[in-house]
């Protein structure tokens, strides 16, 4: 991207968008820092993305999750630039509410609906990485099982059969729940990508599993190292 020339000298800048009601923005910034990149806070109202090379849409309840999760946030000025960037190959990770925003913005297919048990659920969740080839999963092994927090009220991934089959066939199911399906997601899908693999949406929270002291594991860190690696590789 624009700063590719001197990437080997400076660490890549990765942005985290704060929408009104974003909650895990600080956590995402921390995870980016711990992975060795330069975290850059972005404000939803600014179209200018401050020269970042990748973007994380964090978890939370943007606009209170009123109407539908992510439905209102996707119309922000920052999202316009992110949609353009994503179409041009910029890595974008949407976590939880960020995943919902990506679906609402049609950067990813399908939608996320109320958990089948209709309760918010917060727990340490085991996942299987089904595709270690995206911009955000390169540092994992194919099939690796990881444990990261899951916390959502509307995390049930749904799409029509054709879309689901297509996602499976193209290897775009990035992560799947192992064990009990925590929210009724179709085919136990925890995360998916676009066909190019630069845009990934994930319901569980890798940014909450980056420190021994505060997370159930440090399995989430590789998600952020992955994008760093992919940015440096394409530099």
């Amino acid at each position: 991207m624009s700063r590719a020339g001197n990437l080997s000298l400076v660490s890549p800048r990765i942005g985290v968008v704060t929408f009104p009601g974003s909650l895990d923005d600080r956590d995402a910034l921390r995870a980016i820092r711990l992975a060795g990149a330069e975290p850059v806070p972005l404000w939803h109202g600014e179209k200018w993305l401050s020269d970042v090379e990748a973007v994380v849409l964090p978890g939370g309840f943007s606009y209170g999750d009123y109407l539908r999760c992510g439905a209102i946030a996707r119309f922000s000025p920052a999202m316009e630039s992110i949609i353009d960037g994503a179409r041009n190959g910029m890595p974008v990770l949407g976590i939880c509410n960020g995943f919902q925003v990506l679906c609402e913005a049609h950067l990813l297919p399908g939608a996320l609906i109320r958990n089948d048990h209709r309760k918010f659920v917060c727990r340490d969740q085991r996942l299987r990485v089904e595709n270690a080839d995206t911009a955000w999963t390169g540092c994992y092994q194919q099939g690796q099982e990881i444990v990261v927090p899951l916390k959502n009220g509307e995390g049930g991934y749904v799409a029509d059969q054709r879309t689901l089959d297509e996602l499976e066939a193209e290897g775009r199911v990035v992560a799947r729940y192992v064990g009990d399906n925590p929210n009724g997601s179709y085919r136990a899908i925890a995360g998916i990508s676009n066909p190019e693999g630069n845009v990934v949406g994930l319901m569980p929270h890798p940014e909450h599993a980056v420190e021994e002291l505060t997370g159930p594991s440090t399995d989430g860190l590789a998600m952020f190292s992955s994008v760093l690696q992919s940015l440096v590789a394409t530099a």
Binding site: P20, G21, L23, D24, R26, D27, R30, G45, G59, G60, F61, Y63, G64, D65, Y66, K119, F120, V121, C122, R123, P149, K151, G153, H205, E207, H208, V210, E211, L213, T214, G215
Partner: protein, 763 residues
């Protein structure tokens, strides 16, 4: 909508001219002599707006008129600090929340508050707005809220109404806290038939701020602007004002006012970020949240604590419902509102930040030095009062106190005759019954609905003994720990001891994680203060708590009183809920509760006596309440805490868990189920297995210590003169708790009994 008749607004002028006009003071909850006192203060009858303000400000809820005389013990018995020691209490009782200095330039503020009755009427919204209210109190001190906790009590677990109230309360606490991005790090959940139509929903919030960044509720500097910001004012929580409205607006027809306040956590989240940006830029001289008594309270308290006067133009208050009359605007309890006092040269910057966050902000008045709070409506003066008379000089009652007639009988029925388990099989059955009983069963059905990870600083959360939060990421590894505890049955048996036992348990829980207890908050949930027997319970509990805090050397920084928790003449179990805050210098050294390490030796610190009064065993197995609660020994609690803190700092113990409800067996089972190992327990020589396993003697904890540290731990206990006894070991190959010579209980069976209860009840 009917057109309002402006002419009928009751003005100061009118009030002076019509001294004998009858006013509905009794309907507003004011006593005859209280009304007379208002007239005496104003030297005329109050206008209906003034009457509205006095009625809410002088209500039990806002004025603490029945509890004040007792609560002052918390200040009078404030622990003396050793010479040369600096006072950690930066702000004490009386402000929105107390503030304690935790060192390194940081301060922490915390408080617990009840939202009991609203949670019975509409469980989800009642609990949600309870969380919202306490979070605003913490924010108001200038702090960033960093965690919440919730202490909950419901009627019998299998009562039909509990199935309505509990899920709603839990989803309300969860949705509001989760949406604000505040980790829920602990709380309480228990059941007793006395809470059936009187559930207790006590919410705690803790925040962190720079020690020199404390904000206070005062309107200083004549000429400063009074800004109302956040949500618009609607007709929420003003049922009482209807008598005023109907008195002055005969032609109004039927007026609809909401019976329930609906919370908007999104609005509050935005308000928090907006306020923190405003604080960081140092743009306010004073700030107050709008809680109970809304604008009446915010304006009078700000004015009373500041230069002394304020002029307010009530027409400027942004309304959600244009049909509101001044009396209603003044009493409205609409959520998510704040009031700030801003110097004129800072106003523009203040409003710019509000605009950035899409927060509605309106200047509605000016600070004056007249000593009067004056309000106008449609150009007419409707309020002219000395603000102190509302905020501070409310009525104070010394309510009659009488020991309950049945107290002696209750204490006399010691229950020593209750049949006890006699052999291994019977002990095993009792163990299973206890671990699966609603009060002791796995609480994850509740706590899994709460986000405990957000903000990324949660070091410990439920089901650990205390929640623990890291305070800084780049500074020193400083952390705080918090626990809330209460036991209505103990308090019923002996309110003085019951309050101290609640304090002791919270104190012990904090120390168990390795943190040093520092300060106390409390929420006192009782029946009607007009019942002398309830008032006796209350006064004894307060005395016990104040004495206890003095002995333990930790000050009470604030709290909340909730009276009238009763159905007909039957009050709830008296329930003081105590929150203790502690600090830990290095969060990496915290002691968790899970038993994992193979070969670790289990030690019981403290002593076990035959104490079953008010116990879970008596409650679960025999449905019995009588006798005396466990003996309180605060000196011993202090010793135990010192050892636990030292052991954590020196890295002597792998795990620790306090012993409380259900006794030693339940403590060991909880620690075992939190980890992955089995446990072998040995009943000490000469001990009665039943007493050893299930007695609820206070002042005890179980610790797991590796062989290499065992000698050091024993030495520490000996040096401290704290009894310590080896009671067994952790065994990774074993998948059971085996009580040698008595019974063996596979962890799978134990886990099933423990985990199945709440899902079976609540879905």
């Amino acid at each position: 909508m009917t057109v309002r008749q402006q002419a009928s607004v009751d003005t100061v002028e009118l009030a002076a001219k019509s001294p004998d006009q009858p006013q509905p003071f009794a309907e507003l909850g004011l006593a005859k002599d209280e009304y007379a006192k208002i007239k005496q203060i104003l030297k005329r009858r109050p206008t209906s707006s003034e009457l509205a303000m006095y009625s809410v400000m002088w209500s039990e809820h806002c004025s603490y008129k029945s509890s004040k005389v007792h609560l002052k013990q918390f200040a009078e018995k404030k622990p003396a600090k050793a010479s040369g020691e600096k006072d950690i209490l930066l702000v004490g009782m009386g402000e929105n929340a107390g503030v304690v200095d935790v060192g390194h330039g940081l301060a922490v503020t915390f408080k617990i508050e009840s939202h009991n009755h609203p949670s019975y009427v509409e469980p989800h919204q009642g609990a949600a707005t309870g969380v919202g209210g306490i979070v605003r109190d913490i924010l108001t001190m200038g702090a960033r809220p960093i965690a919440v906790m919730d202490a909950l009590r419901f009627g019998a677990a299998d009562a039909p109404d509990t199935a309505r109230v509990l899920p709603g309360v839990v989803s309300g606490v969860g949705s509001y806290g989760n949406c604000l991005g505040l980790p829920n790090i602990g709380g309480e959940l228990s059941f007793d038939p006395s809470y059936l139509a009187n559930p207790l929903v006590n919410a705690l919030c803790v925040g962190v701020l720079p020690a020199d960044g404390i904000k206070l509720a005062k309107a200083d500097g004549p000429g400063s602007k009074v800004v109302l910001f956040g949500a618009r004012t609607g007709g929420d929580g003003i049922g009482g004002a209807s008598v005023l409205a109907s008195a002055s607006f005969e032609s109004e027809g039927e007026r609809k006012r909401p019976a329930v306040q609906v919370g908007d956590p999104f609005a509050e989240k935005v308000l928090i970020e907006c306020c923190l940006e405003i604080f960081a830029a140092d743009l306010v001289t004073g700030i107050q949240d709008l809680g109970a008594a809304g604008l009446s309270c915010a304006t009078t308290e700000l004015a009373a604590a500041g230069t002394g006067g304020m002029d307010v133009d009530l027409d400027l208050a942004p309304l959600r419902d244009e049909s509101l009359v001044p009396e209603e605007i003044l009493m409205s309890e609409s959520q998510e509102r704040m009031m700030a006092v801003v110097a004129p040269d800072k106003l523009e910057a203040f409003l710019a930040i509000c605009t950035k966050w899409d927060v509605n902000a309106t200047v509605i008045g000016t600070v004056t030095d007249t000593g009067r709070l004056v309000m106008r409506w449609h150009g007419q003066q409707i309020v002219d009062v000395p603000p102190r008379t509302l905020a501070h000089d409310g009525p104070v009652y010394q309510r009659p106190i009488r020991r309950p007639y049945d107290q002696d009988a209750l204490n006399g029925e010691h229950g020593n005759g209750l049949p006890r388990p006699k052999n291994g099989d019977q002990l095993r059955a009792a163990a299973l019954a206890l671990i699966g009983s609603p009060n002791l069963a796995d609480k994850s059905w509740v706590t899994d609905q709460y986000d405990r990870y957000v903000l990324g600083n949660t070091v410990l959360a439920q089901p650990e003994d205390a929640g623990m939060i890291r305070l800084t990421e780049d500074g020193p590894p400083l952390g705080i720990a918090l626990s809330v505890d209460g036991n209505g049955r103990y308090t019923r048996l002996d309110p003085y001891a019951g309050a101290q036992l609640a304090l002791a348990e919270a104190y012990r829980n904090v120390a168990t994680t390795g943190a040093r207890p520092l300060a106390v908050t409390n929420c006192l949930n009782f029946g009607s203060p007009e019942d002398p027997a309830v008032m006796w319970q209350f006064s004894e509990a307060v005395r016990g708590l104040a004495d206890g805090c003095q002995q333990l050397g930790i000050p009470v920084t604030g709290g909340n009183v909730s009276f009238y928790n009763q159905t007909g003449n039957t009050a709830i179990l008296p329930t003081p809920v105590v929150g203790v805050l502690g600090v830990i210098d290095d969060v990496a050294k915290r002691t968790p509760m899970a038993l994992n390490g193979d070969g670790a030796q289990l030690y019981l610190l403290g002593e076990t006596a035959d104490e079953f009064g008010g116990s879970e065993w008596a409650h679960v197995v025999h449905g019995f309440l009588g006798g005396r609660p466990p003996k309180v020994n605060l000196g011993r609690e202090k010793l135990l805490a010192d050892v636990l803190i030292q052991a954590s700092a020196d890295g002597l113990v792998e795990a620790a868990h306090d012993v409380s409800d259900g006794g030693l067996f339940v403590a060991v089972a909880e620690a075992c189920l939190r980890g992955t190992s089995g446990v072998r327990l040995e009943v000490p020589d000469g001990a009665d297995p039943f007493v050893f396993l299930f007695s609820e003697s206070a002042g005890r904890a179980v610790v797991a210590v590796t062989r290499s540290q065992e000698a050091a731990l024993v030495e520490l206990c000996t040096a401290s003169k704290l009894p310590a006894q080896r009671i067994g070991m952790v065994d990774v190959l074993e998948s059971a708790i085996e009580v040698l010579g008595q019974f063996r209980l596979p962890t799978s069976e134990l886990r099933t009994a423990w985990a199945a209860t709440l899902p079976a009840l609540f879905g």
